[in-house]
């Protein structure tokens, strides 16, 4: 087990390094932010001067090494635009993003499992066709489109939910503000998970031990809930771990549509303004969170299922 943990840890570090390297290379392909920082009437010499003072004239790998050296000490630099430490900027937005991701996650899981089970047990019924049809739709709808449509219907026409922001007037208003973004963000995950639960349960239902259970004369309910579902959910749990990470990342679009003050919006704004330290820092921090989550899932999985450790 120890060797397994060490191996997974090393892999995680490589992943984070890979992500930072990739972001760095891609960003530097697009030029540097100095021109946008300098005043509009700055001369070429003044721009060069600023570039030199800010260190953007060094080769990218030197800047990268510099970044890594500081990052391991928790120093991700200062935002070029907001003049605040990057870590602080990301940190103060994490609660909002986490809140949104958790809400979307809870929503999607709590609906996906019942829907998947009903579909699987009533295969090819109207229920099954309808819910799987909807799931397909949910998976194909762009988050962006869904978000604008929800705003249009629930805020624009029905006027029952707010269209923007996180709300700041107590629990009730905050919950109201949470509904539309959480639905928008959770729909894709809900659809995918429901389909996964269905197919996984169908697979299990065809196995010999289910037949045995049925031939023992157990009630169908017991067969499904106690015997089939337990095994069917193993792959679902794995996917859910990743799913949560995806929700954190997918929040970028949802946060922008709903003016949600989270990490995703920070990153989008930073990209548009070429605020390189924020882009690199925020992506790195998100990558670390993602990797840690994955690692936990893997370790849990390894503990549950010994076969995983040796593969």
């Amino acid at each position: 087990m120890t060797r397994y943990i060490i191996r997974r840890l090393l892999q995680s570090i490589i992943v984070v390094l890979g992500v930072t390297l990739l972001v760095f290379v891609v960003l530097f392909q697009t030029g540097d932010p100095v021109v946008l920082l300098a005043s509009p009437d700055a001369t070429k010499e003044e721009i060069e001067q600023i570039r030199h003072e800010m260190g953007f004239d060094r080769p990218w790998y030197i800047q990268y090494a510099d970044f890594l050296g500081n990052a391991v000490r928790g120093d991700f630099g200062i935002s070029l635009r907001q003049k605040q430490p990057v870590f602080k900027l990301v940190w103060e937005r994490i609660p909002a993003t986490l809140e949104l991701a958790v809400a979307a996650f809870v929503l999607s899981v709590s609906l996906a499992v019942p829907v998947g089970v009903i579909s699987a047990t009533r295969r090819n019924s109207i229920w099954d066709n309808l819910s799987m049809g909807l799931a397909l739709l949910g998976q194909s709808l762009p988050v962006f489109f869904l978000g604008v449509m929800l705003i249009f219907i629930f805020a624009g026409k029905l006027k029952i939910l707010p269209s923007y922001g996180r709300g700041d007037g107590g629990l009730l208003t905050e919950l109201q503000h949470l509904i539309l973004p959480a639905v928008t963000l959770g729909t894709f995950s809900l659809a995918r998970t429901a389909r996964l639960v269905r197919s996984s349960l169908l697979e299990v239902l065809g196995l010999e031990y289910i037949k045995t259970a049925r031939s023992k004369g157990l009630a169908e309910r017991v067969v499904i809930m106690r015997h089939a579902l337990k095994n069917a959910l193993i792959p679902v749990v794995t996917v859910l771990g990743l799913e949560f990470g995806t929700l954190l990342g997918g929040a970028v679009i949802t946060e922008t549509v709903f003016a949600w003050p989270g990490v995703g919006r920070l990153v989008i704004n930073a990209i548009q303004q070429r605020d390189f330290p924020v882009v690199v820092g925020a992506v790195t921090i998100i990558a670390v969170v993602f990797v840690v989550l994955n690692l936990l899932v893997d370790l849990l999985y390894g503990a549950l299922d010994p076969r995983v450790r040796y593969s």
């Binding site: 946008l36 003049k83 249009f152 709300g167 208003t173 003050p261």
Partner: protein, 568 residues
């Protein structure tokens, strides 16, 4: 009505508005959503509004929004535009597209930041929104002691939010801080000290100070309309922590204090009790960054916002017809043009450049893309310094063809034209239409449309755009600044247009302080540009704001949003 429907359909088919593109394209692209899909989507949101007019009155219908601004004035005053019977709400919500990055007066560089600072700080002078002339503000009078020395008098008894007095020391410190060139490691964005050739400032008495410049600087009072006075005890820049603190916690002498800033959610300003000027009637001003235009529109319709910015031309009719919404629009100072590389053949011949100006079918573009709101511009200069004798180049493809022929340009001559996408109202679409206009007079245009961040981040810094390039430049109103846009020394002038007469006259202008003489020189300079055509001058961009019907605020040409004087 029929026509309007057709127009709407046309607009719907065209790509999304200025805003949709600027703010959303990256996201849309990430999803594989193409711009037309997005445009159709916006139209879907906009179109519905006609059939079922919104029924709720201001502020009442929206469940769950914690703040319903304007709920005090929830009875819509029918049919009154801005004035007459309007109620002034206690609290006003302004929705801009993005949050401020920093409120440090020397580091801010975008309009949304400026709009907050203009409430929190006092600019030294202010601009009359109607005449666009410079007027006294916290400096009540000024005079030239000599060509290089200016004497200013401050208002007496004004205070900063922390209780410090507004006096000559504070004014001098504000200049000195700007002249440092850097705050910590960050280069100062505020350009005033550079533009006037700042040398030094000295105190005459408690409320009087003098500024010395290295050259006569007639535009000084004009530049002071965007320069904040700050308390020396707060903006010490002593260490990193102090510098970081003032980015987020500004202390000024303006009519409002900043009391809360939840990043990317809202900024809350409260009226400052000890303000020296007229006390604002609106007690609370909230700025909310809402990037998605449709979310802003819905919020306005639900009475959750009083002012929203950057309404796309497609959505204008919907808000105009809304029960509790209206549009406030104004021709702004931002000039949109196609720059011509005068160092590239055949554009070194002014007849070719004139031909391009004759070739633009502006009326069609205006109808199809701008909802009829845009007028073709005749000159690059904004009011009040426009040469009013100049008329815009008319659409005359025959004359354009003749001029090209005269200049010996072969039929089907290939030219590359660059255009940004998502920066200006309908930029890419406008460029497409104009490329077609140019093709119609016998050129062959290869249009290269680039995303704005690439355009501004790569193409422009290279200083070597293609022979034709689409661009917009900001909104000064001093005349001299606009005229500098085509001067060889201006760093963003890529036209390489050389004209000794122009340069000589411009030099004279920048040395002249007498207003009448200045206007005469400016008129002459505009005539040279009109004849020489280093640009295809298109239009001064129109800004559209959505406003609640009973809220008496009107758009200003200088893109500023200030509500401290509403109802006063």
């Amino acid at each position: 009505m029929q026509e309007r429907e057709e127009l709407r359909q046309l607009l719907a088919d065209a790509l999304g508005g200025k805003h949709s593109r600027r703010e959303i394209l990256q996201r849309a692209a990430a999803l594989g959503l193409t711009a037309p899909v997005f445009g159709a989507l916006l139209a879907a949101c906009g179109g519905g509004g006609d059939e079922t007019p919104t029924t709720a009155s201001g502020g009442s219908g929206s469940g769950g929004s914690q703040s319903t601004p304007g709920s005090g004035g929830a009875q819509p005053t029918q049919g009154t535009g801005a004035s007459g019977g309007a109620e002034i709400p206690e609290q006003v919500v302004i929705m801009q597209g993005v949050d401020a990055n920093t409120l440090d007066p020397l580091l801010r560089n975008a309009t949304p930041e400026f709009n907050i600072n203009v409430h929190v700080f006092d600019m030294f002078t202010k601009r009359n929104p109607k005449t666009l002339e410079v007027e006294p503000h916290i400096v009540t009078e000024w005079k030239n002691v000599d060509d290089l020395t200016w004497e200013f008098k401050l208002v007496e008894g004004a205070k900063f939010h922390n209780g410090d007095p507004v006096n000559a020391d504070a004014a001098i410190y504000s200049f000195e801080r700007a002249a440092k060139g850097k705050i910590g490691e960050q280069p100062v964005v505020q350009t005033i000290t550079r533009l006037i050739g700042y040398e030094s400032a000295e105190k005459v008495d408690e409320y009087t100070f003098r500024v010395k410049t290295s050259k006569p600087a007639a535009i000084f009072p004009d530049l002071l309309t965007s320069f904040e006075i700050v308390p020396p005890s707060v903006y010490t820049d002593a260490d990193e922590a102090t510098i970081a603190k003032v980015q987020r916690e500004p202390v000024g002498s303006g009519p409002y204090k900043l009391v809360e800033w939840v990043k990317d959610d809202h900024i809350r300003l409260e009226a400052f009790e000890d303000y020296w000027g007229p006390k604002p009637k609106i007690k609370t001003v909230i700025f909310r960054p809402v990037p998605e235009l449709s979310a802003r529109v819905v919020a306005l319709q639900n009475g959750e916002a009083n002012i929203i910015v950057n309404v796309a031309p497609d959505l204008v009719p919907q808000l105009e017809q809304g029960e509790n919404t209206r549009i406030s629009q104004v021709t702004g100072g931002r000039i949109i043009f196609i720059g011509i590389r005068c160092d590239k053949q055949p554009f070194d011949d002014k007849r070719v450049r004139q031909a391009l100006n004759y070739a633009v079918d502006w009326d069609s573009i205006n109808t199809a893309l701008l909802n009829g709101a845009g007028k073709r511009a005749a000159t690059i200069v904004n009011p009040p310094h426009q040469n009013t004798k100049l008329q815009p180049y008319p659409y005359d493809p025959e004359k354009a063809r003749a001029l090209l022929k005269e200049a010996g340009v072969p039929e089907g001559f290939e030219v590359t034209m660059d255009a940004p996408s998502g920066r200006y109202i309908k930029d890419a679409e406008m460029a497409q239409a104009i490329a077609q206009n140019f093709n119609d007079i016998g050129l062959k245009i290869n249009l290269r449309v680039l995303e704005w961040s690439v355009y501004a981040g790569e193409l422009l810094p290279s200083k070597e755009p293609d022979p034709l390039f689409f661009l917009g430049l900001g909104s000064p109103f001093s005349g001299e600044q606009e005229l500098f846009y085509v001067h060889p020394d201006y760093s963003l002038n890529y036209t390489r247009w050389q004209n000794a007469d122009y340069v000589a006259k411009f030099a004279e202008l920048s040395k002249t302080l007498d207003p009448t003489k200045r206007q005469q020189l400016m008129d002459e300079l505009q005539e040279i540009i009109y004849d020489e055509c280093p640009w295809v001058v298109l239009w001064h961009q129109v800004d559209f704001y959505g406003v609640t019907k009973n809220f008496p605020w009107e758009a200003r040409p200088d893109e500023r949003i200030f509500v401290g004087d509403v109802g006063i």
